[in-house]
């Protein structure tokens, strides 16, 4: 079945129509999923940031969140699984005018793309990485992933997950990111503000968006429907700006610390490049 067939009636203009490829709607995300919320906040942030849209490119990998690039009316790339960051690295360095945003999921960015993630952060390449973390692989039907909490159930950990998950803010900060924040899809205004800051930050900025996956992860772990997840985020999340990311682990039913954890200044890859360029040009030939 074709995925791009237009519905015959669109009752209302979408409030974000200016940046959505409307001909591609409806999207593929399940009801109660948080990716749409994250995308909505991103569009809001982009509008607030004042960045010229023609100079913003969005790059996704593969997975549910990876489909975001296909719905946004920017220069947009839907690359291979895990490879959004190195693709974006080439794009960013080839055209210094661009702002490059990576919008993808936890499995894509952190498992198969984990090595690219830590190296882009280490280089402090000028890009914003938005990671929608729903604790499992949704596109392929709810398998265990690099952020699945210990002992949580998925289709490939039917008796519970025997691995420790990555704590993403800690991983990003330790790898060299200059801006690190985490929010849930409940915190839409704060998330939007954080994404605006991240977009305007020079260097490698990282925002984790904790999102429900009612179809797989939440159902398998009896966490409830979309609305239940919002309630649980309200109960279990605590805003602590400047929190030490080392302690920001997430357990299956434990507390979720959110907030802006890191916001520092240091030379970016391009800053060093400019210095090198000057050095080369200063050399007598």
């Amino acid at each position: 079945m074709s995925q791009v067939e237009k519905p015959t009636v669109i009752p209302l203009k979408h409030p974000r129509e200016s940046l959505l490829r409307e001909e591609r709607l409806p999207h593929i995300w399940c009801s109660g999923c948080g990716i749409g919320t994250a995308l909505n906040c991103f569009i809001g942030a982009l509008e607030k940031s004042g960045l010229p849209w023609d100079k913003v490119a969005i790059v996704s990998g593969i997975g549910c969140a990876g489909r975001a690039a296909g719905y946004i009316k920017l220069d947009s790339f839907h690359t291979t699984h895990g490879r959004a960051i190195p693709f974006a690295t080439g794009l960013r360095l080839a055209n210094p005018e661009l702002k490059v945003v990576i919008f993808s999921g936890d499995g894509d960015l952190i498992a198969i793309g984990g090595n690219h993630f830590i190296h882009a952060a280490r280089r402090n390449i000028d890009m914003t990485v938005i990671c929608v973390n729903n604790f499992n692989y949704g596109m392929t039907g709810g398998q265990v992933g690099p952020t699945t909490p210990a002992m949580a159930k998925t289709t490939t950990s039917p008796y519970g997950n025997s691995e420790h998950p990555f704590n993403l803010p800690y991983l990003a900060a330790a790898s060299g990111a200059v801006y690190v924040a985490r929010w849930t899809t409940l915190h839409v205004r704060r998330l939007e503000r954080s994404l605006t800051e991240a977009l305007l930050k020079e260097g490698f900025s990282f925002v984790e968006v904790i999102s429900p996956c009612p179809t797989y992860f939440d159902r398998m772990n009896r966490l409830g429907e979309g609305l239940d997840m919002m309630k649980s985020y309200q109960e279990s999340s605590e805003i602590v700006h400047g929190f030490d990311p080392r302690k920001a682990d997430i357990d299956l039913r434990g507390k979720i610390i959110v907030g802006k954890f890191i916001d520092i200044e240091k030379p970016t890859y391009l800053d060093f490049q400019k210095e090198i360029q000057a050095r080369v040009e200063g050399e007598p030939s």
């Binding site: 995925q3 490829r21 690359t79 490879r83 690295t89 080439g90 090595n115 690219h116 190296h119 080369v280």
Partner: protein, 369 residues
């Protein structure tokens, strides 16, 4: 200069301004040269965390508007296969150089091989057609790298340059022309606006807008329609993939380059490519001195394979001798193309060195009898 240096210089002459790579013998000298030269020319050199990343970075850079290249050897070539496919599917012009060494696995890092010829053709998954060129000297490494960039832009596809350790490391005279031919990027004639993709021209190749030009393009590795949007069905697959294959197959005459020496009137043809063709030519010369009617058919373009010409020659000669540093890869193509009209004698060498001209000569003698 050495072949590797010639390759880097060829790329720079052709306007390459982005190189991403990962150190690997015997291709490292290309990266080192690029690291030195790119800042002088205002280009970008970046050493990525692996070859997967390198391949992706050049695809991104190409969409960013630069002519982009990576260079590697066997183990890295294997890692690049994944996103070679992305390059083919998204019709991204770029150049991938493989300075082949002995394999499988880590194999012979410092010694010659030609074992990746079939990987070049079939290494990434799915249905596709590829362009691969093979140099047999530093000069050809320069020239074919230039050509690879132009073919990449003309047909909007990744192009492979399949060199080998001997060609990469040997130092020989290289003449660098003041100017080299340059096929410019095929830009859309539409004004900027919300156009996610562009219909192909008559030659089946669509124009390409770079990022940041205001078109709001959409590019995906999924099967997509002419708007660039994913449509994962049989009809769209048929239309897209057939076009991707035909845009290359339909232009074989333009893409294929052969170097023939004494083919007319010959009884035995040595058909080879890269460094093996060079040694093969020596054997042909030795055979001629003995009065054997021998000729040389050197493949500068290996893929698409010049099956029409090989078939034509097959109907006039007794045999083909095919020396190559693998267990018989291109020999299979020669055999397929000859279709039984002439005998095909594969001459295999497992790598680490070149054929002895005497061994090729013996095969020519035997074939001529």
């Amino acid at each position: 200069m050495s072949g590797d240096i010639a390759c880097a210089e060829g790329a720079l002459s052709a306007g390459c301004r982005f190189f991403a790579g990962y150190p690997i013998t015997p291709a490292t000298e290309i990266a080192e040269r690029m690291a030195e030269r790119m800042p002088q020319l205002g280009g970008v050199y970046i050493q990525m965390e692996d070859e997967i990343a390198s391949m992706n970075a050049i695809l991104g850079a190409s969409w960013g508007g630069l002519r982009a290249m990576t260079a590697t050897s066997g183990p890295g070539f294997s890692l690049m296969m994944e996103n070679l496919g992305l390059g083919i599917m998204t019709e991204t012009p770029c150049v991938l150089v493989n300075v082949q060494r002995g394999g499988p696995s880590t194999g012979l890092p410092t010694l010659v091989g030609q074992g990746d010829m079939m990987q070049a053709r079939w290494g990434t998954h799915g249905v596709y057609e590829i362009i691969a060129l093979s140099p047999s000297s530093p000069q050809e490494f320069f020239d074919l790298t230039v050509r690879a960039f132009n073919l990449a832009e003309k047909y909007r596809t990744p192009v492979l340059v399949m060199a080998d350790e001997v060609v990469g490391h040997m130092t020989e005279r290289v003449t660098i022309p003041e100017e080299v031919p340059c096929f410019p990027r095929r830009k859309p004639e539409f004004p900027p606006g919300d156009r996610s993709s562009f219909p192909p021209d008559e030659d089946l190749v669509p124009p390409m807008a770079n990022v940041g030009e205001g078109y709001h393009i959409h590019v995906t590795g999924l099967t997509h329609d002419e708007r660039g949007y994913p449509v994962t069905d049989e009809v769209t697959q048929e239309r897209l993939v057939r076009r991707l294959v035909e845009k290359i197959r339909g232009h074989k005459k333009d893409i294929i380059r052969l170097e023939e020496k004494g083919v007319e009137g010959a009884e035995v043809i040595v058909c080879s490519y890269g460094i093996s063709a060079r040694v093969g030519l020596w054997a042909v010369e030795l055979a001629k001195r003995e009065g054997i009617k021998a000729g040389m058919l050197k493949l500068l373009t290996v893929w698409p394979f010049p099956e029409e010409r090989v078939r034509e020659v097959a109907s006039k000669v007794k045999a083909f001798v095919v020396p190559e540093i693998n267990y018989g890869q291109i020999a299979l193509e020669v055999e397929r193309s000859a279709g039984g009209r002439a005998e095909v004698i594969p001459l295999n060498h497992m790598g680490g060195g070149l054929h002895e001209p005497e061994d090729i000569l013996k095969a020519i003698r035997k074939a001529a009898r």
